[in-house]
């Protein structure tokens, strides 16, 4: 039987979420006010490393409106509480205790040392000036190589080292490939390069906030978080509160990008204070606090060796990373660079692979997940070095990629890193992208400009990327020593009138789950899109979930919704048969109705819902409920891919980069809502391009973040970005019943190397083979003037190559 109703999946539905958001009817955490609510303000250390000699809070305590002032010792006298890290990547990983407030030593500039509780936020902030902290400064450790150097001062004296962990994958040892050292010894070409991934600030637009109400039977916490379910469990585990006495609500959340995946010391602090005073409390940070206190992302030095034959066939890849953890370990911080281990080999058929990552402590804000988390770093490294290898071999950079990538007929393909890519078609995406981009025409123009000595040179950058997403398979996460699983939960409630409530454990903060989940359920149950309400982000209604990160919501959480809907239909079927006095075998379901085959007799899901509600005449042994739940744990990741092409014009006299065109063809599998997918790609591109051209978290030699406001940290505005040309190919994923792959991080992962490759391509004729990100006009101009090359770049310049530490803000 064919349906006459147009399917919802695939339709560019306008979002349900918008109605409130465009009218200002929002529920940001900071909007909440509760009776008797008190306000918190945190005093933060101006020093990156210092002993706390004493803290005098007496003046602050007598300030107007102040109810209490607490230090770390007041809140945690036994120094027993430590913030959780859920990813001990090796058995011998060094994990320092991260206190709620520093009480003996501060380890980064911005770490909290005391908190004021007052009747208004203004009074709380005023009173901060009345707290007198006596610090004894300690030597500051900045820069990855400095921190590992013999005799370097230690961030955590008690650990005896600044090395957090060394994590190694080797294809020969794992049996997934041959020995990379043999490849290095025997290959015709061995190319080694060092690249730097600068430190970034996630810069979600809504600063973090939490409200804790201790007055009910359950302690209720509202938080601007991506992870309400994890936060609930971790609050219980960290503070020893019985888990069933905690309810966490993520109301409207203004962006996250990984930056709100954390469990915050401020959330624990607010909870302890609320419990102690018996009053609701609110903590809302200023943007300047966000910049120093919320975790940063990226910050790696990458030493990459690629080996190949003269014909362009790659033979081996060796990756040695240094990754900056900052002063402490975030919730998943140590695992972030490790996710890259599976992605450096990318879409290429390397027979031998070695990956080693050394995580390092420094006196800086901690790092953790930021959009892509480990995969943008890996994609940058491999896509940059493929370009450099092409130059070494005198090949077109696209040709060398084509020669080495997995052909579409070779899927499923098990990579040298041990993952099995289920599907893909790199040829199709690339062909489409080249056509939209006019690849050959732009190459021609590039030649002409070079020959004419045009002061504005043109460069073309390629990024043929893939990523693993849908974090996910619990067994895989377990094998990587991650503390939790990766399943997702969904429930469908069929209300008496036939309206539907969908409950999801994913926790949207801008993604559009309410719209996409409604589309999925509308198709599955044949109910109107408008008749579906999606509930999320409150552990009371959505009691079970793993939340939103790692492009997992649709491919894990959306699949749980599909499976729950199947269970609803399975429960409805015997009731429909009973109502129509027929055999279940004679029934078929379409467009919201069970029909008796070959007749015009039918009954709608709505009729069944009412029959279930009244429950007067159900078949024997059938429970009066259609409500169904599912918890889905996939067996594999999904692997979106795509081809991104960037044309950059570089003014060789000023170093200014202008993006002339940006074309991307992404393959994210089956698309539920093309409008939402396109929006995700746009935003992802903006963030990846911003890493290439604009953004960097810079510390001075004392460890002070000099890019600590939006006046100093260059978040691109509308005027700084071009319009993008986006398109798709559609190779369904075979790892989930939707055929979807996930799109949240693709744009960010792919775009950074495309832009850098384009700029380097534009100025390569001046003897340039690398420019450190961000590619500011000054850096580009300097590179042209001084023939900057990657080898020996880091570590030789002023400041000692301190990772993202650069007192001059890049003005070398």
């Amino acid at each position: 039987m064919t349906s006459t109703i147009e399917p919802e999946v695939g339709k560019a539905r306008r979002r349900k979420e918008d109605e409130r958001l465009i009218a200002g009817r929002t529920r940001w955490t900071d909007n909440l006010t509760l009776p008797g609510m008190l306000h918190l303000a945190v005093l933060r250390s101006p020093f990156a490393h210092a002993k706390i000699v004493s803290i005098d809070t007496s003046e602050a305590k007598s300030a107007p409106g102040v109810i209490a002032v607490y230090t770390g010792k007041d809140l945690d006298p036994e120094s027993a509480i430590g913030m959780p890290c859920a990813w001990p990547i090796t058995p011998d990983m060094k994990a320092p205790r991260r206190p709620i407030l520093a009480s003996d030593t501060v380890n980064f500039a911005g770490e909290g040392v005391a908190v004021v509780v007052a009747r208004t936020s203004a009074e709380a902030h005023d009173a901060l000036e009345g707290i007198d902290v006596d610090y004894d400064e300690l030597p500051v450790v900045l820069g990855l190589e400095n921190a590992l150097a013999e005799g370097a001062p230690l961030v955590h004296e008690e650990l005896g080292t600044n090395q957090n962990a060394l994590w190694v994958f080797d294809s020969a040892a794992a049996g997934t490939g041959s020995d990379v050292e043999d490849a290095i010894a025997n290959s015709e070409v061995v190319l080694k390069r060092r690249f730097r991934q600068q430190r970034l600030v996630p810069a979600f637009m809504e600063p973090r906030a939490c409200v804790v109400d201790p007055t009910g039977n359950q302690l209720v916490m509202w938080s601007a978080t991506q992870v309400p379910h994890i936060l609930k469990t971790m609050t219980a585990a960290t503070l020893g509160i019985p888990e069933h006495k905690v309810r966490v609500i993520a109301p409207d959340v203004g962006g996250g990008f990984g930056g709100k995946i954390a469990v915050l010391p401020e959330e624990m602090m607010s909870t302890l204070i609320a419990q102690r005073l018996g009053k609701p409390v609110k903590w809302t940070e200023s943007r300047s606090e966000t910049m120093v206190a919320a975790h940063h992302g990226r910050d790696q030095i990458q030493d990459i060796t690629v080996t190949a034959n003269r014909d362009g066939t790659v033979t081996g890849l060796k990756v040695e990373l240094l990754a900056d953890m900052g002063a402490y370990l975030g919730l998943v911080g140590p695992g972030v660079p490790i996710l890259g281990a599976f992605m450096f080999n990318a879409i290429y058929k390397f027979p031998a692979y070695h990956f080693a990552c050394t995580n390092v402590f420094t006196n800086t804000t901690l790092t953790d997940a930021y959009r892509g988390a480990g995969r943008p770093e890996a994609t940058f490294g491999i896509e940059r070095i493929m370009d450099e290898l092409a130059v070494e071999l005198g090949m077109d950079p696209m040709e060398i990629r084509e020669k080495n990538w997995i052909k579409h007929e070779e899927f499923p393909f098990t990579t040298v890193a041990g993952l099995t890519y289920d599907s893909g078609n790199y040829e199709a995406a690339t062909a489409k992208a080249k056509e939209l981009f006019d690849y050959d025409g732009l190459r021609r123009e590039q030649r002409e400009r070079r020959e004419a000595g045009d002061p504005v040179q043109l460069g073309i950058g390629i990024s043929t990327f893939t990523e693993m997403c849908g974090l996910a398979p619990s067994r895989v996460l377990g094998s990587l020593d991650y503390a939790a699983g990766g399943w997702e939960h969904a429930e469908i409630r069929v209300l008496p009138t036939g309206k539907i409530e969908v409950i999801t454990g994913a926790s949207a903060h801008g993604q559009g789950h309410e719209t996409a989940w409604s589309q999925i359920v509308a198709d599955k149950l044949g109910v109107p899109f408008e008749d579906i309400e999606v509930l999320h982000g409150d552990t009371q209604s959505s009691h079970k979930g793993m939340d939103t990160y790692g492009s997992r919501s649709l491919v894990v959480g959306g699949v749980a919704v599909v499976r729950a809907a199947d269970k609803v239909l399975a429960k409805a079927k015997p009731i429909a048969a009973h109502m129509m006095e027929c055999s279940e075998d004679d029934l078929e379901f379409d467009a919201g109705k069970f029909s008796v085959k070959g007749t015009d007799s039918s009954t709608s899901l709505q009729d069944i819902a009412w029959a279930v509600f009244s429950a007067h005449d159900l078949p024997d042994g059938i429970e009066p409920s259609l409500d169904s739940a599912d918890t889905f744990d996939p067996e594999n990741f999904s692997f979106p891919h795509g081809t991104h092409l960037c044309a950059a014009e570089v003014d060789t006299e000023t170093g200014r980069v202008k993006l002339r065109s940006y074309v991307c063809v992404d393959d994210v599998g089956v698309v539920v809502n093309p409008l939402i997918v396109e929006g995700q790609v746009h935003g992802g591109l903006a963030q990846g391009i911003a890493q290439a051209l604009f953004e960097e978290a810079v510390h001075d030699e004392g460890g002070t973040l000099t890019t600590g406001t939006f006046a100093d940290y260059l978040l691109p505005s509308a005027a700084d970005l071009p319009s993008f040309t986006t398109d798709r190919t559609e190779t369904p994923s075979t790892t989930n019943p939707l055929g979807a792959k996930g799109v949240g991080e693709a744009g960010t992962i792919a775009s950074t190397p495309a832009v850098v490759n384009a700029v380097v391509d534009a100025v390569r004729q001046f003897g340039v083979n690398d420019i450190e990100m961000p590619l500011t006009p000054m850096r580009v101009w300097h590179a042209i003037q001084h023939q900057s090359v990657a080898e020996g770049g880091l570590g030789s310049e002023a400041g000692g190559g301190l990772g993202s530490v650069d007192a001059s803000g890049g003005a070398r």
């Binding site: 903060h509 801008g510 903006a686």
Partner: protein, 176 residues
């Protein structure tokens, strides 16, 4: 200090501290939490409202400077249940994701269109330079503003816009 401010058509008389910023007055005393605070250096524009018809970053205006003025926020844009064309265009063009920058972005877009009823892409991008969005990459915002311009073309903007142009020459207040 005592001030009287008309916010979204309703007059309020309140005691405020001299240092109170307009955005804090709106959020904490008037309850207009649709207008939000995204930074503390007046870079992000999330707090943009109209003060006597002109867009201002309400974090850069003292509440006392708004004494005797009319303030329009995102919450007062709809008329008789009808969304403003710019609100509608943001929805139609998927010009928002998390929605945190949206109130400011919409208020600034309306101001931009009052100045230039038919902006090209460059004019829109430059006109929104003071409003940051981390989700959308701006492309759909630009599309929405130009779409709204198209929708509003035949008969000028609604009431709020006419107020804007009428009072534009009269008032020099604001924090820009």
């Amino acid at each position: 200090m005592r001030i009287t401010v008309t916010v979204d058509g309703t007059s309020y008389t309140d005691e405020v501290e001299p240092r109170t910023l307009l955005v804090h007055y709106l959020r904490e005393q008037v309850g207009k939490v649709g207008t939000v605070v995204g930074c503390d250096t007046s870079n992000c524009g999330a707090c943009t409202v109209h003060l006597d018809g002109h867009s201002v970053k309400s974090c850069s205006v003292l509440a006392v400077q708004a004494d005797g003025c009319e303030v329009a926020t995102i919450e007062g844009l709809a008329r008789d249940g009808q969304l403003h064309p710019v609100q509608k265009a943001f929805h139609e063009n998927h010009a928002l994701q998390c929605g945190f920058c949206t109130p400011g972005m919409i208020m600034q877009s309306i101001d931009l269109l009052a100045d230039n009823p038919d902006p090209d892409e460059k004019a829109v991008r430059e006109g929104l330079e003071g409003n940051l969005c981390r989700c959308t990459g701006y492309q759909n915002i630009v599309r929405a503003v130009r779409d709204a311009a198209h929708q509003m073309r035949p008969g000028a903007g609604p009431e709020a816009e006419r107020l804007a142009s009428d009072t534009a020459s009269r008032v020099g207040a604001g924090g820009e």
